[in-house]
């Protein structure tokens, strides 16, 4: 009846996951009770859960990423403490637990922190920057988000029901095969990624179509803000790379569930094929993450330097070059597998070539600052911190792309330090910069600068204190994923790294404080103009938060930096004139399709993991029925009458006029 599921699935003998799980459960219940008791449930349902508004969905993506950041972060803290104490001892985490933690840490940080964070920011901002009212497929957008959330839910469920994979975040076979990993851990891993992978693919298709087909009047390709370009590149990569992950995991699952022989030791299976396939997805994946971050930094550096982006066309070229080359370098993840010297050298050089457009980007940001008038608001601090940190990560990256150097550094702590260097220094700093930069747009008030700056400095410092020691440990021959070790020389560096994580945690606490303080002082921090940073692109041309329809009229774009031009040119006056006539606006109707579909996906995923076949069928039928019901509805849009549009827009213009006249007096 319940497949493999029985009481032994609950880890009664493991206090850490049990207590953690209990706390989370209590917290969720408390929030739910509070929501219901205060009567917020209808609001939550109508305004958020069923919302198909790209801004709301973007915010929910970022919320999911933030919560998962705390989960992944606590894994990181446990790992650092374990390695600090596990010198000639077992530390406080037994291997079967420690191995789950590093696997979960990697999986969560990549799939459920970095991905939703950048997808959330793209969702929130790209339609605004393009001057349009929504993404191409609003309901699918909601489906995509909720499927991602399903994946995250399943991963976290493994904490208390069963176990998570103990194979590392890429679950290499044969270790991940049934014979060596008989538990449900790998199944949790694979099914969560399959489900959230569908969500990611949907988001990718949606954003590609949005950028290519939905742009306001005059928004030619070479007038798009840099963030839109990097969004396009990143989502093209999603569309091209995520199906590879889906296929690869499908093969692994077929091996595990139906006795196929794709990656088994027996009957002619080929584990090296898994390596090739997973990295053919995995390497583009890192560019999927970092390209949007590059876009964010382009916006931030240009805005806070008070200048257009230097070498815009060069940046576009560099972005698209990275997009293409990123598919040609996957083999550098396994130089040490014994491929011939020619193959190694060619992939090594290809990997270095990708550093060229990346280097160009750094220099273009540098020259954007040159001759600027730089304001060091929090987003700009993240941007400068990123540039310095990312160069170092780039250096070590090119270093491990040199095959002979990689023969010494492969899978070492040096490598761990390298990819944290680029993912934290690149993606996470970028996500935080974007968060600080666009928060006022999403919520209508700015974030507290003092706490924001404190968060930056603690994170920046904490990053170096954590990861420089790991570089050194790698140079001392330390490999990754060691639950304990006997080499005395490694130990001091593990202590320093554990201390660094403490500093990083203070950074995270500062960020939480920043949000709390800002919400409490929101009236003082209110952004009435819609343009708190003196911005350059169209998202600042509407109110903060924007009305549901974003723009009462499609803006008419005449060049790069569309809003800057509007502010600078005679169009300024057009703000002061009453716009000719407002029209009715049709907007997509909210739909619970995404939520219900994800509900059935959760059931189906859980049932597949535990081999509860009747429940799998139930979930499948439910998901299909949801789509049919959605397809059956008669009204998928509702009309906002012209009067209402006019009323909303007039308030916005009133506030903006204040800004313009103020600008005139300075």
């Amino acid at each position: 009846m319940l497949g493999k599921l029985d009481w032994s699935a609950i880890p009664f003998d493991q206090p850490i996951p049990l207590i953690a799980g209990a706390i989370v459960l209590v917290a969720i219940l408390a929030v739910l009770i509070w929501v219901v008791a205060k009567g917020h449930l209808p609001y939550l349902w109508h305004e958020w859960i069923t919302s198909v508004d790209h801004k709301r969905i973007g915010v929910m993506y970022i919320l999911l990423a933030s919560v998962m950041l705390l989960r992944g972060g606590s894994d990181a803290i446990m790992m650092r403490i374990q390695q600090a104490v596990a010198y000639q001892s077992q530390g406080f985490l037994p291997p079967e637990h420690y191995n789950q933690i590093f696997s979960a840490h990697g999986t969560i940080m990549i799939f459920f922190v970095a991905m939703p964070f950048v997808i959330g920011l793209m969702n929130l901002i790209v339609p605004l920057q393009l001057g349009v009212r929504d993404v191409a497929f609003p309901t699918l957008n909601s489906v995509g988000f909720w499927l991602t959330a399903t994946g995250a839910l399943l991963v976290n469920l493994s904490l208390v029901v069963g176990e998570f994979a103990r194979t590392g975040w890429l679950a290499f076979p044969p270790l991940s095969q049934l014979s060596y990993s008989p538990g449900v851990g790998v199944d949790y891993y694979a099914w969560s990624l399959q489900i959230s992978g569908v969500g990611t693919l949907v988001a990718g298709i949606n954003l590609v179509t949005t950028v290519l087909k939905l742009r306001t009047k005059g928004m030619n390709y070479l007038r798009m803000p840099m963030f839109c370009w990097t969004t396009l590149a990143s989502n093209l990569l999603i569309v091209a790379a995520f199906p590879i992950l889906t296929a690869t995991l499908a093969m692994l699952l077929l091996d595990r569930y139906l006795g196929f022989h794709f990656f088994t030791n027996e009957a002619g299976g080929n584990v090296m094929m898994f390596m090739n396939l997973i990295w053919a997805w995995g390497h583009p994946e890192v560019y999927i993450l970092v390209l949007p971050a590059f876009g964010i930094f382009s916006e931030v550096v240009s805005t806070f330097s008070g200048k257009p982006l230097f070498g815009y066309r060069s940046m576009v070229l560099a972005t698209m070059a990275i997009c293409v080359i990123s598919f040609m370098v996957w083999l550098h993840h396994f130089f040490t597998m014994g491929a011939g010297p020619d193959v190694n050298a060619i992939f090594g050089i290809a990997s270095m070539i990708i550093a060229v457009p990346t280097g160009v980007k750094i220099y273009n940001w540098l020259f954007t600052m040159y001759g600027g008038r730089i304001r060091f608001a929090t987003p700009m601090l993240w941007a400068v911190g990123f540039m310095v940190t990312f160069i170092i990560g780039g250096l070590t990256g090119v270093l491990v792309a040199v095959p002979p150097a990689d023969f010494m550094l492969h899978n070492s702590m040096f490598l761990v330090a390298h990819f944290h260097n680029v993912i934290i220094g690149g993606v996470l700093f970028g996500a935080f910069a974007g968060f600080e930069y666009w928060f006022p747009k999403a919520f209508g008030f700015r974030l507290d600068e003092r706490w924001g700056k404190a968060a930056f400095w603690f994170t920046f410092l904490g990053f170096y204190v954590t990861f420089l020691p790991l570089y050194i440990a790698g140079m001392l021959g330390m490999t990754r994923r060691l639950q304990h070790y006997d080499v005395a020389a490694w130990r001091p560096w593990m202590f320093v790294a554990a201390f660094g994580v403490l500093i990083l945690s203070i950074g995270v606490i500062c960020q939480i404080m920043q949000i709390v303080v800002s919400i409490r002082n929101r009236e003082a921090l209110r952004d009435r103009t819609g343009d708190p940073w003196d911005g350059r692109s169209l998202e600042w041309a509407t109110s903060s938060p924007p009305p549901v329809f974003n723009f009462a009229f499609y803006p008419d774009v005449r060049g790069e930096d569309a809003y800057w031009d509007m502010k600078a040119s005679a169009q300024q006056q057009s703000l002061e004139h009453e716009p000719p006539e407002y029209r009715d606006i049709e907007m997509p109707r909210n739909s619970p399709t995404g939520f219900i579909c994800a509900f059935f996906a959760t059931i189906m995923g859980f049932a597949l993991i535990w081999h509860i076949w009747w429940m799998v069928i139930l979930g499948g039928i439910g998901a299909f029925a949801t789509f049919v019901v959605f397809a059956w509805r008669d009204h998928d849009e509702y009309v906002i009458p012209a009067d209402e549009v006019a009323a909303i827009d007039r308030v916005n213009l009133e506030e903006r006029r204040g800004l313009v006249s103020m600008a005139g007096t300075i």
Binding site: I205, T209, R215, K217, V239, P243, M251, L258, G259, H261
Partner: protein
Amino acid sequence: MAMTATAGRAHADPHHIGVVIEHPGPAPKRTVTAYGFWVFLLSDIVMFSCFFAAYAVLSGQTAGGPKGSEIFEQRNVAIETVCLLLSSFTCGMASIAADVRNRFWFYLGMTVTCVLGLIFLVIEFREFSDLVARGYGPSRSAFLSSFFSLVGCHGLHVSAGILWLLTMMAQVFAKGFRADVLRRMMCFALFWHALDIVWVGVFSVVYLLGSGV
């Protein structure tokens, strides 16, 4: 939505050098939907290409089991191919019928498509169950694993397509040729044709190349 492209700067530039065609604005819904679905199909083809790649890598790994030439039956594959190619034609007829809002030809086209798809699936299912019965199931060898997955993945797509097809017929029955129904019909037709193209790949790579070895 104005679809007229205005050529900015052109009047100041008699030689039409550096003409900037002003982007006309957001595309109409039908274009957007079709475009998005194309992008989806591309991603689906990427997924198929992984299974093709796996088949190419593993096709020699028979682990003492049968080779392709020992298990493929040309006659069945020929019937399958004819069914699928014909069904693409009838699916095209159904789309045209939908565009001109002719219910009779729409239902007829869709029904024939459905029947042809089902014949294809039945033949494939019999081929599979026959192989399994002879002990040549997917767990026999890596070659058979990759064969079953590649062909089976296409078969699953066809099954999903038939489910979609029936849903489309029910939609037209209940809702008529509404704009959103027509958009979905267009996507379905794209999907069905794409499956045909994938089958051409499967037919050539698996059955034609495989039977020679």
